[in-house]
């Protein structure tokens, strides 16, 4: 079996194989039936649904990446998060060199070897290093098991250096997750930290390519939602900010529920605080199902199919 065959087959196994029993069972160990919190969802609707999380980082402690993921999965099981899109690995580096983002991605690859039944990998790139980023995209997505791209704060989202990466992502059907935030109305952003407005510019240059607007501007989500409203290929990631009432309702109203995704930004954030905003939103149950699971599943299916995975 050559490397490409192995990686592809391991991804196939990841999506078709049952969840390992030890990964799914800690709930019963840590929250015994007598624990009132365990019955907080008396019909277990959230667990039955199995949420898919567009935005997670494996920052839980552990001696190696796989053990860190094991710790995270145990916690995810308690609140019914079934699949996690994982990217980057500590230490968090704003403007990583090629060597640094390769190392970060190596950690994610190591996690996928053990936890591909629960995790989807997104390759971390710094488009400032365009050639090396494209090479890394080939290594981890074209030839490897990852199915998405994570862009953080290395380059503003409207920069031309992103264009070849977006084009290649489209060819590979890889889903792009671009961090955005609006701090002090943009005046407080990091030097190369993107806003949803800048991401909208990028989307305008690449019609038809789905891109997830990470955090949707963060705490100033009302501006973020406005900024991406007219770009139908941009999807709102709800995660990473305080669970302020109104965000989910506005996103559904302005974008349509089909463009809204549950994300947590764990492990810095809590699964619970981010799930709670969807669970508690004044929207229909059908919309909650879309946001918590079905929308992301639909966005990832092209990449999964590209790797030979039968979706239905």
């Amino acid at each position: 079996m050559n490397r490409r065959t192995f990686l592809t087959s391991s991804t196939l196994a990841a999506v078709t194989a049952p969840v390992r029993s030890h990964a799914a069972s800690p709930l019963s160990l840590v929250n015994p039936p007598t624990d009132p919190a365990a019955s907080a969802w008396p019909s277990s609707d959230l667990r039955k649904l199995g949420a898919w999380d567009i935005h997670s980082h494996v920052g839980t402690p552990g001696p190696n990446p796989a053990k860190r993921m094991e710790a995270l999965v145990k916690i995810a099981d308690r609140v019914g998060v079934e699949r996690l899109c994982i990217c980057m690995s500590p230490p968090w580096q704003h403007e990583p060199t090629p060597e640094q983002f390769r190392q970060s991605n190596d950690d994610v690859l190591a996690i996928l070897k053990e936890w591909s039944s629960r995790a989807f990998g997104f390759v971390y790139l710094n488009p400032t290093h365009t050639r090396e980023s494209l090479d890394e995209l080939e290594r981890c997505v074209a030839d490897g098991p990852m199915i998405g791209i994570k862009l953080w704060v290395g380059t503003r989202a409207n920069a031309p250096v992103l264009d070849p990466i977006v084009k290649r992502a489209a060819e590979l059907k890889a889903l792009i997750l671009q961090h955005t935030w609006i701090k002090q109305r943009g005046k407080g952003n990091l030097p190369h930290e993107s806003t949803p407005m800048e991401l909208a510019e990028l989307s305008g240059r690449h019609p038809g390519v789905p891109i997830v607007c990470g955090h949707t501007g963060g705490g100033d989500w009302a501006l973020g939602i406005r900024a991406i409203r007219t770009r139908p290929d941009l999807y709102a990631d709800l995660g990473g900010g305080d669970p302020v009432y109104g965000e989910v309702e506005m996103a559904v109203r302005e974008l349509g529920a089909h463009r809204v995704l549950y994300g947590s930004d764990v492990s810095g954030r809590s699964f619970a605080s981010q799930l709670g905003r969807v669970v508690g939103a004044d929207i229909s149950e059908a919309d909650k199902r879309l946001i918590l699971r079905d929308n992301l599943r639909g966005l990832l299916l092209p990449a999964l199919r590209r790797k030979g995975i039968t979706a239905e």
């Binding site: 799914a24 009132p36 605080s273």
Partner: protein, 294 residues
């Protein structure tokens, strides 16, 4: 179907199969089957000026809290943040809690120690309205916790055995409306002040990343000084579990920051952490109850 069987079966089809098995019925209220009391120490009436609220009326607030199993809610008023007629705001808060609170809403009046005759606001909260505590907003009211005015207020409240809740922040300071900004309150001065005021009962609300997840020596100092906390802005996976590990002996209460936040975000935190029965009960109600009794 047994639980393990279900989980295995569900997991085997999740990524590539058909519709998920979410029941078609509307989700039941999260707390409906939770036994025992649940005290929410961080609830507010009235509207925060730049946000729509899930509770446009006190009755709507109470209905949702009750549906999720809340048995008592320590309730302040956002009017207390920006109004200068503090006695009016406190009177309306007390009346709303009495009229619509159905025994659940426990009013926590606001006092601004930079205002003239603030002492009478303390008296009215206690004697006229029968309040058990106060809720302070130092960052919006223009004082710090090392200001003598705060020490005087804390002493006055302590003489009346009132709980003093200090809201360290209301919203993320990175995304405030530029016309309505306030930096988070610095809690450090409490470490030295608390031992000087015997019997002071202080709870910090919305400690979040700066206190609960920040410098551990500050946190431990506050714990040693007898400060109590709430979980509304506690973040990180398994946040309560990790907090108890980082600061053994920490007294934290269930607080939701409702209706500014979605209530469900706080409630699910109880499920995200693996807590002993004793710790769970302490967070749900025991620590809040003990603070009132101390």
């Amino acid at each position: 179907m047994k639980r393990r069987t279900f989980l295995t079966a569900a997991a085997s089809v999740t990524a590539v199969s058909g519709p998920s098995p979410l029941s078609a019925q509307p989700a039941p209220a999260i707390g409906t089957l939770i036994n025992g009391s649940l005290i929410d120490t961080n609830v507010s009436l009235s509207q925060w000026p730049i946000r729509h609220s899930w509770a446009p009326t006190p009755a709507a607030l109470v209905e949702r809290l009750k549906r999720h199993g809340v048995t008592s809610a320590w309730t302040g008023s956002f009017e207390g943040v920006l109004h200068t007629d503090m006695s009016g705001a406190n009177a309306r808060l007390a009346e709303s809690c009495r009229k619509d609170g159905v025994g659940i809403l426990i009013p926590m009046g606001t006092v601004n120690p930079t205002f003239p005759d603030w002492e009478d606001d303390v008296r009215r909260c206690h004697e006229v309205h029968g309040m058990r505590g106060l809720r302070l907003f130092p960052n919006y009211h223009g004082y710090a916790l090392d200001d003598p005015q705060f020490a005087q207020l804390l002493a006055a409240a302590t003489r009346r055995r009132l709980v003093v809740q200090i809201m360290l922040s209301i919203e993320d300071d990175r995304s405030q409306n530029p016309m309505l900004t306030a930096l988070p309150v610095q809690a450090g001065p409490l470490v030295e002040l608390m031992p000087k005021i015997t019997g002071a009962r202080v709870m910090l609300l919305n400690g979040g990343s700066r206190v609960l997840g920040g410098n551990v020596s500050l946190l431990q100092g506050l714990v040693a000084a007898g400060v109590t906390f709430d979980i509304a802005t506690l973040e990180g996976v398994a946040g309560i579990e990790n907090l108890l590990r980082r600061a053994p002996g920490v007294r934290t209460t269930f607080g939701s920051h409702s209706p500014y936040f979605y209530f469900e975000s706080a409630l699910l935190k109880l499920q995200e952490s693996a807590l002993s029965q004793a710790d769970l009960e302490a967070v749900r109600s025991g620590n809040a109850r003990n603070l009132l009794r101390s």
